[in-house]
């Protein structure tokens, strides 16, 4: 265990492995005995209808909830995440659906919100604007986004806002980025931009977990799809071996499992 089959016969260590994870709230079993592993540089689509347990699962990975039973391993070692901050420390970052951006601040200010770069001595520290603009510009270049550090978020497109939220995950040495419905509320052209951002993250060896309802996006960018239904994992398929019809069937229950 701890090993996942990679491409071309290589065996690679799983970045994150879930073993028999369950979560119940009182009598309700939100997640039942779910196991899977994520590899470095992989894009995994996490699909399921409302109430299928995907957000509970994501919240356990992000450190919001603790599993009722089961274990989580990162790079082969067991981890217990009590708080979102601990998940962050382990290299797990989450991009919320609402993006958590301040419209009245610049792109750079948003990227560094809560983690501002400062200069000075002792308690007399002032914001290091220059360093923050520079670092933010580097990250946006890296993400091949046209977002500019000094622009106010309120005047940005949906795709640029996504880039700002994703840029935050690049400040720390993130291994896994969880993205909650990143393409739900933006225009078609911007969807392409966001999918490109996801590819950039993947190219840098980051594992992206994409929670989405949009089938075309999933098939455009994901390597693998995990389907949840009524708290259990009903499928874990390579995208190449699957189809939109199959995934839809798995979500609705028309297809039991594969």
């Amino acid at each position: 265990m701890g090993l996942a089959a990679g491409g071309e016969g290589w065996l690679r260590l799983a970045v994150l492995e879930l073993r028999h994870i369950s979560k119940h709230f009182g009598a309700i079993e939100a997640v039942k005995d779910v196991s899977f592993s994520l590899e470095a540089g992989e894009v995994i689509g996490l699909m399921g209808d409302n109430g299928a347990g995907k957000s509970t699962l994501v919240k356990m990975i992000a450190g919001n909830f603790r599993p009722s039973s089961g274990t989580m391993l990162m790079d082969g070692a067991e981890v217990v995440l009590h708080r979102p901050l601990e998940a962050r420390r382990h290299g797990i970052e989450i991009v919320h659906q609402d993006l958590a951006l301040c419209n009245n601040l610049t792109a750079a200010a948003n990227v560094f919100l809560g983690r501002e770069l400062k200069m000075g001595v002792g308690p007399f520290k002032i914001l290091d604007y220059k360093a923050m603009y520079r670092r933010a510009a580097e990250i946006f270049t890296e993400l091949k986004s046209e977002t500019r550090p000094r622009d106010l978020v309120k005047r940005m497109s949906g795709g640029q806002r996504q880039a700002v939220a994703i840029a935050r995950t690049r400040l720390s040495d993130a291994k896994i980025v969880l993205m909650d419905e990143p393409t739900a509320a933006i225009s078609v052209r911007q969807v392409a931009e966001v999918l490109n951002l996801i590819r950039r993250l993947r190219d840098q060896g980051i594992t992206v977990v994409l929670i989405s309802h949009r089938m075309p996006d999933l098939f455009a960018v994901a390597d693998r799809v995990i389907v949840m239904r009524r708290g259990t994992k009903v499928a874990d398929r390579k995208i190449a071996d699957s189809s939109a019809e199959e995934v839809t069937g798995l979500i609705t229950g028309a297809i039991e499992t594969v």
């Binding site: 958590a100 009245n104 601040l105 550090p149």
Partner: protein, 332 residues
């Protein structure tokens, strides 16, 4: 590559010129200058050194509190208790000094009183989750009542052994003949401007006002910052109270009554956004200046003082309207 990177860093959406022309503070400043020039020509009494001295000094008390108020407004809050806190702090200072304590002890007690009131406001707002409007409305009533209790509702005009020192603090002109209150105002405005622009604390004020939920998720200590900002607001009222006491040479229990509205007006005219997320120290000062120039000019032009409210109210509406129009044009 490095070239395009630095280009990207330096690129702005708007030039400084369009930024200036779109800034409410700039236009209010123009209004202040225009009004002053017109008054200098229309009357003989405006541009006299005595009148200008009066204007600059009168501006300071509202302006100093407007600095604190602007910080509160930036977080999306409001502090209605400042007028009463000014009164309570002044009274604590007066009563302490009247009882024979030194000016240092008096000032410390006044400052401590203000900070405690601010901390109570902030704790009720940040930790109990009560609306700022209601909490500070309650405190408006409580603080003035406490000032009456402290003084037995009398006028205090004897300040003990350091009487002369206190009058000199508020009424003197230690620096190049500039009235002390003006010097204090300028120092406090510089500090406020610096804090807003260059510190993490300032950045967090804007973040909380822009999107409190986002600030919380990204790890900004929202509650601590909120308590701090109401303490700063009360502190600004306390400082204004101390200086005003020295200037007036007497404290009554009705000083600062209704002042909160003038202070909020100054902040809003100066560009503070009541919805949160916007405001500057310079704006607070310029907003206070416009109000004082309006007041002063009505007097000099021999217009009935009853018209004051109408003109100041009109300025508030005009400033907010201007902001709306500027935003409307931008979103087009």
């Amino acid at each position: 590559m490095s070239n395009s990177l630095s280009e990207a860093i330096d690129k702005r959406q708007q030039s400084w010129r369009s930024g200036l022309l779109g800034s409410q503070t700039f236009w209010v400043f123009i209004a202040v200058i225009t009004a002053s020039l017109a008054l200098s020509m229309a009357t003989d009494s405006f541009a006299t050194s005595k009148n200008l001295y009066n204007i600059t000094r009168n501006v300071t008390f509202v302006a100093i509190i407007a600095l604190g108020m602007t910080m509160v407004i930036i977080t999306g809050g409001i502090d209605l208790s400042v007028g009463s806190v000014l009164c309570l702090s002044s009274m604590v200072l007066a009563v302490t000094m009247h009882a024979g304590y030194s000016i240092e002890v008096g000032i410390l007690s006044a400052v401590a009183t203000a900070l405690i009131v601010g901390a109570v406001n902030g704790a009720l707002i940040a930790y109990v989750g009560l609306p700022p409007f209601v909490v500070t409305l309650g405190m408006l009533s409580i603080a003035r009542s406490l000032a009456m209790v402290a003084s037995g509702n009398t006028v205090v005009f004897e300040f003990g052994p350091d009487h002369a020192k206190l009058l000199d603090l508020g009424g003197g002109a230690w620096l190049f003949g500039i009235a002390n209150p003006v010097v204090f105002m300028i120092i406090l405005a510089l500090i406020t401007g610096f804090v807003l622009r260059n510190t993490q604390f300032g950045r967090y004020l804007f973040a909380i006002g822009g999107n409190e939920h986002a600030a919380t998720t990204t790890g900004v200590p929202v509650r601590v910052i909120k308590v701090a900002v109401y303490m700063i607001s009360a502190l600004s009222a306390g400082i204004a109270g101390i200086i005003q006491t020295g200037w007036l040479g007497a404290v009554t229990t009705n000083i600062g009554a209704g002042m909160e509205l003038q202070v909020i007006a100054a902040a809003v005219i100066g560009g503070a956004n009541l919805a949160g997320g916007g405001g500057t120290a310079l704006g607070a000062i310029i907003g206070a200046m416009l109000i004082e120039v309006i007041r002063n000019s009505l007097g000099l032009l021999g217009i009935n003082a009853f018209w004051q409210g109408a003109f100041i109210g009109g300025a508030i509406l005009f400033a907010v309207l201007f902001d709306r129009l500027a935003n409307f044009r931008r979103s087009d």
